[in-house]
Symmetry: C2
Subunit: 116 residues, 2 copies
């Protein structure tokens, strides 16, 4: 079985490249840690596959929170809120990290989202 | 003591936002894991500080590799090479992940680099 991690980012905040990258890195590490604690074997499988990850987008806070509620029922999922040091307000949700989890299931549940 | 993670990305590859974010996430997770194995207490301190991270830039492969050689002597550091599925050639180095490590030291050694 192949494993994949999905990161979902808000585009409506108009974050710069550096900011988006930092938020995605944050989501990736926390979702990784969550999976490490619950399904350590998934991490090993994910590594064999080059730690595949894709970055998808939503265009509002509402959508991001809906996706978070939906995905956390199925997969190890984290919601990232910005520390607010730069660009955007403290506590503003910016992105979601999901998995790594089995690729077929994660694709099935996120297929309607577009690539960032 | 405060801790910070630094990600350094090549701009000359002209990667899109999603691609840069995925490469940075990759660097962040692998550097995190390296620190977790060697200095688990740094991870705890880093978390207390909101997992601070910044994304810096270089504009060539040569520069990226020079920074990797320099920084890996001082800090837990990883070099990311692209899997080559999209946009760029397989094995092309794209970015570096450094730490988390003590903020004053990491700042001292990377201060000449600009924010992405």
């Amino acid at each position: 079985m192949e494993f994949k991690q999905v990161l979902i980012v808000r585009t409506d905040l108009e974050m710069g490249k550096g900011k988006i990258s930092a938020q995605c890195a944050h989501a990736s590490v926390l979702a990784f840690e969550k999976v490490q604690q619950k399904h350590a074997e998934w991490i090993n499988e994910w590594k064999k596959n080059g730690m595949e990850k894709i970055v998808l987008k939503v265009d509002s806070k509402k959508e991001l929170l809906e996706w978070f509620e939906r995905l956390k029922k199925k997969f190890p999922t984290v919601l990232i809120k910005d520390a607010g040091r730069t660009q955007i307000a403290p506590g503003e949700p910016t992105c979601i990290g999901v998995g790594p989890a089995p690729e077929n299931e994660i694709d099935e549940h996120t297929k309607e989202l577009k690539l960032l």
